[in-house]
Structures are given as structure tokens and as C-alpha cells.
């Protein structure tokens, strides 16, 4: 049970990251690797703020804001300094490694006794049930873990709804159109470059938020924690698309898909780890998974065409 709760909590936290990747990769069609740095930036900024006694919600907001600045920087490099999109992300990500070390002052900030966003829920739970463990379906669950799960679930639901609303606002629709058809949105009088910068800021803000919550859940921020996170997010949204159907392009379905995809992926990983998958192999497995998810449909299309003749369109 602890395993399931852990996987759910972790999945929900990372689904904020997946929402960020959804915006950059699917909506802006921008392959943004800043993510690997901005999740760590969100975590380290929040950790430092918390250790210095800041209110946990403010500290979380701070992590989100830091992520937004990182996305803004990547966007500017690409749109105004004409640097290739992948390289813009790599430059900012690399710079962030040093910046994160500067922010934390060392490579790792533990925050065992700091407050966190789940304290409030924990207090509520303890008031109604003054023991350290609550039983769910007969399994004893630490109050702390449950409080975190509830807080994160509420936060993710709130952010998901907010994001859905944002994508339907005047400016949100312009951002979506800029990602899909820059020529079209320019003809409607919008500078598509600023939409891209703005979209990347929102995207990395969500990633920073994910890092901020992750640090509080784990109880530490670490300069290495962002490695491979973009691919993680990618894997999650690919699973999500398999769940809700890739053809659905309604913003609500895209967001739901990303949320469900991340949680499912985390559960699968938890099971695989339980079965004896070496944690060191995790990133390799994730990368292979994304590779397979990108390539298999194309092969399937080709084989389908060979076997059945005619023009298949599975890989189009």
C-alpha cells in the first residue's frame, strides 16, 4: 500500500512536469530540453527558501517563478537571438547547472525539519485521527504520506483546471495557434515569437512547480535530480495519448491524458522496480520506451502496407 501511495504521489507530482512538456512539445511543437534544468531550479529555489523559514506556499510559488524565468530565457535565445531551438534549451540547461549550485551553495540541500505544503493537511488528519498511521482498506498508512498525497492531488486538480482555462483564453488560443501555424497567427496580427516565449515561460513554470513540490516530498533538493526529466515527461504524455487517443485535440482531453499517463507510467515503474528492475537502468528503460513509442507506429505502418498492400496511414 505504501508503494501504491508513493507511486501515486510521485506520479501526480511529475504530472505537473508532464503538463509543462505537453505545452512545449505538443502545443508549441518546441523540443525544449530546458526542463532538465528548470525542474532542479524549481526544487533548489524552493529548498533554499524553505530552509530560510519562508512560508511553504510562497516558497513553492518562488520555485515556479524561477522556472518561468528559465523558460523565458530559452524562448528569447531562440526567437530573438536566432539560436536553434534544441541548442537554446541546451545552453540554458547547462547554465542552470551552475546557477542551481549557486542557489543552493552546494550540490544538495536537505530540509528534514522545514515546513512543507502538506503540513496543513497533516494537521487536519491528525486532529480527526490522533495516531501516526491511518488504516485504508485495512492497510496502515503513515499520516504524513496521506497528507502529501491529498495536498498534491488537490494542487494538480487546481493547476489542471487553471491550465485548461488558460488555453481557452484569448491569449491562450493565440499561443496554441502560434505553435501550430505561425504564418496564420501572424496574419491575425500576433507576434508569434512572443507567443512562443510566453508559452515556454508557462511550460517551465509548471516544470519548476513540479520540482518545488518534488523537493518537499523527497525532503531534499539535489543538483542532479533533473537529469532525464524531459524524456520522462515525454514518455508520460505518449502514454497519455495512448489512453485518450492521439486524435483528440481538445485541451481538456490533452491535460487529462498527460495526468493519467504520468500516474500510470509511475505505477508501471514502481511495479517493475518491485520485480527487480535495477534503479540504475531506469533512464535507459525510459529512453528505450520513448524510442519504441516513436518508431513502432511507423514500422507497424510499413509492415501493414507490405502485408496488406495499398496505402496505410498509420505512420504518416
Amino acid at each position: 500500500m505504501t508503494l501504491v501511495i508513493g507511486a501515486f504521489t510521485m506520479g501526480l507530482i511529475l504530472s505537473l512536469l508532464a503538463l509543462g512538456v505537453l505545452i512545449s512539445f505538443r502545443i508549441l511543437r518546441f523540443c525544449d530540453i530546458t526542463v532538465d534544468g528548470s525542474i532542479t531550479l524549481g526544487a533548489s529555489a524552493t529548498a533554499v527558501l524553505l530552509v530560510s523559514g519562508c512560508n511553504p506556499w510562497l516558497a513553492t510559488l518562488g520555485g515556479m517563478g524561477a522556472g518561468m524565468i528559465a523558460g523565458f530565457a530559452t524562448g528569447l535565445l531562440h526567437t530573438h537571438f536566432k539560436i536553434e531551438e534544441l541548442l537554446s534549451g541546451i545552453l540554458v540547461m547547462t547554465a542552470l547547472y551552475s546557477i542551481n549550485l549557486r542557489v543552493m551553495g552546494r550540490s544538495n540541500v536537505p530540509m528534514l525539519n522545514s515546513e512543507s505544503i502538506s503540513d496543513w493537511a497533516e494537521a487536519m488528519l491528525l486532529k480527526s485521527n490522533p495516531t501516526e498511521k491511518i488504516s485504508i482498506l485495512g492497510w496502515p498508512v503513515p499520516v504524513r504520506d496521506l497528507a502529501m498525497l491529498l495536498t498534491v492531488a488537490a494542487l494538480v486538480a487546481f493547476i489542471g483546471l487553471l491550465l485548461n482555462l488558460f488555453l481557452k483564453t484569448s491569449i491562450g488560443t493565440a499561443v496554441r495557434a502560434a505553435g501550430e501555424n505561425p504564418q496564420m497567427i501572424r496574419a491575425q496580427g500576433v507576434d508569434n515569437r512572443w507567443m512562443q516565449v510566453f508559452g515556454l515561460a508557462v511550460s517551465n513554470g509548471l516544470v519548476g512547480l513540479s520540482g518545488a513540490v518534488l523537493a518537499q516530498y523527497q525532503g531534499f533538493a539535489d543538483v542532479q535530480m533533473g537529469i532525464g526529466m524531459m524524456v520522462w515527461g515525454l514518455a508520460s504524455i505518449i502514454i497519455g495519448e495512448a489512453l485518450v487517443g492521439k486524435s483528440t485535440r481538445s485541451t481538456g482531453m490533452m491535460i487529462c491524458g498527460a495526468l493519467m499517463g504520468t500516474v500510470l507510467f509511475r505505477l508501471l515503474i514502481a511495479i517493475a522496480l518491485r520485480w527487480g528492475l535495477d534503479p540504475n537502468d531506469l533512464k535507459l528503460v525510459t529512453a528505450l520506451f520513448v524510442f519504441a513509442a516513436l518508431v513502432l507506429p511507423r514500422w507497424a505502418g510499413k509492415i501493414g502496407r507490405k502485408v496488406f498492400g495499398g496505402r496505410g496511414n498509420a505512420g504518416a
Binding site: L165, F166, K168, T169, S170, I171, G172, T173, A174, R176, A177, E180, N181, Q183, M184, I185, R186, A187, Q188, G189, V190, D191, N192, R249
Partner: protein, 270 residues
């Protein structure tokens, strides 16, 4: 009024691929005038329209529209004055967004966009009202992705979007060329209707001599980056497809003549 003053544009200057696409274009288009641009392939028709729309900055010359010197304005800024329909029916809309979302984007062309919801019931009703006369049954499908529509339907909607807010200038670049004959005719009729009803100033590139004779008030013929014929008023009223064909023949013959003269003359200088 649109005014071009000796506009020049060379692509890839100073390289073997150098193309002098516009060699000094000057013209005045009065308010409410609908002009067609015809000409051979590569004569600079699209480049002229792109120069006005701001797809690139011209090398020299000035462009004035509605009293503004827009020569240095970026493309998105010019869009506050200009409505545009492209040759490719997919270029003017965002395929994965719904019909309503696409249209609502054009309802704020050139205006600020904020954090208010783009669509509400009133706006949705307005959209339905204005697409019903298309008689394409689209008013019941405004929440479907626009990518699920046919090229003709998309082009009709793009035209509607370009003119939703009355533009000071409408630019049409062979906007019926990629459509099947029936849709092409439908969109051509719609174009004429909208331009006449709104008394729009418009520039339309076309390859169809038929269209050039029937639709506009004025015909501009281009060749090798220059305007070689400008037919308006009385002459336009009398012009026939055959006359345009003759005009084409004349410029072709002159080309051949130039080439053969050059062949004869060059050796003397070599």
C-alpha cells in the same frame, strides 16, 4: 489607399542564385478598387503580395497603406490593416483548433489579447450567424477541428476570417488554385460577394483569365518583376480573355526578341 513606390526585392543577392523578383514596382490602388494581378510563372506576383503583407522587408522603395508608411512594419503589425488568404488552403487556419477557435482568433486581428475566455455564448451565436450564409452546414460543426473540413470549406472560412473585421486591404494569392473546380467556383463567387458588399480594396493574384476578366475592376499584368500592363476603366470594361492572351504573347515575343538580339549583339562586345 495602397501605394507602392519603386519597390525592389532581390533574393540571394550576390550569389549565383540571385533572383531579381521585383525590379521597381510602382502603383496606386484607390480605396474600394479590386484589382487582379496576372502574369507568367515566376513573374513576381506572389512576391508583390508578400512585400505588401510584410513577409520580408523590401530592399528599396516605399509602401503606404491607409495613410501609414508601412515599409518598415513587421508582418504581424501590418495584419491590423490587411486581411490575407493564401494559395494553400491549409495555410490560413490552425488545423487542430476548432472552427470557432480559429474564427475567434480573427475577430481580434490587430487588437490586444488578454486573459478573458476567447469564446462565450454571444460570440458563438455571432459566429454561427455569419457562417450560415455559406450554406455549407458548418454552423452546426463549430466545435469540430477545422482540419476535418475540405480544402474548399477551409478556404471559404479563411476568406471569412480575413474579412471578419473590415480590412483596409484584402490580399488573395491564387486562393482558388488548389481547389477542385466546383469549390473554386464557389469560393470565387463568395469572394466577389464579400468584396462588393463591403466595398473592399483588394489585390488578387490569379492564373484564371476568366476570373481576371469577370471579377475585378482592374487588371495588372506582371512580367519578370515589372508591371507591363495596367488595364482599368473603359479598357477594362471592354477587355476579353483573348486580349489578355494576346498581351501574354506580346511579352513572350519581346522576350524572344531580346534574347535573339542579345545573341547577335553580344559576340561583337566579347
Amino acid at each position: 489607399m495602397l501605394e507602392l513606390n519603386n519597390v525592389k526585392k532581390t533574393f540571394f543577392p550576390g550569389t549565383p542564385n540571385e533572383v531579381q523578383a521585383l525590379r521597381g514596382i510602382s502603383m496606386k490602388l484607390e480605396d474600394g478598387c479590386f484589382a487582379a494581378i496576372i502574369g507568367t510563372n515566376g513573374s513576381g506576383k506572389s512576391t508583390s503580395l508578400n512585400a505588401v503583407a510584410g513577409s520580408f522587408m523590401v530592399d528599396s522603395g516605399q509602401i503606404h497603406l491607409d495613410g501609414h508608411d508601412i515599409t518598415k512594419w513587421p508582418e504581424y503589425r501590418r495584419a491590423s490593416l490587411i486581411g490575407r488568404v493564401f494559395q494553400n488552403p491549409f495555410a490560413g487556419t490552425a488545423a487542430e483548433m476548432t472552427i470557432a477557435e480559429n474564427i475567434v482568433l480573427s475577430m481580434r486581428r490587430g487588437k490586444t489579447r488578454g486573459l478573458g475566455l476567447a469564446l462565450n455564448r454571444r460570440i458563438r451565436e455571432e459566429i454561427k450567424e455569419r457562417i450560415r450564409p455559406l450554406n455549407m452546414g458548418l454552423e452546426t460543426r463549430i466545435d469540430n477541428p477545422i482540419g476535418t473540413l475540405s480544402g474548399g470549406q477551409r478556404q471559404a472560412l479563411t476568406l471569412l476570417m480575413a474579412t471578419w473585421l473590415r480590412p483596409k486591404l484584402l490580399l488573395l494569392d491564387e486562393h482558388t488554385a488548389a481547389l477542385d473546380p466546383k469549390s473554386a467556383a464557389q469560393v470565387a463567387v463568395l469572394t466577389k460577394e464579400i468584396i462588393e458588399r463591403e466595398k473592399l480594396t483588394a489585390l488578387m493574384v490569379t492564373h484564371s483569365m476568366q476570373q481576371a476578366v469577370q471579377l475585378p475592376h482592374r487588371i495588372i499584368m506582371m512580367h519578370k518583376g515589372q508591371i507591363v500592363e495596367d488595364i482599368y476603366g473603359e479598357r477594362k470594361a471592354r477587355v476579353k480573355v483573348a486580349d489578355l492572351m494576346n498581351a501574354f504573347d506580346r511579352v513572350r515575343r519581346r522576350d524572344l526578341f531580346d534574347a535573339s538580339v542579345a545573341e547577335q549583339v553580344l559576340p561583337q562586345f566579347a
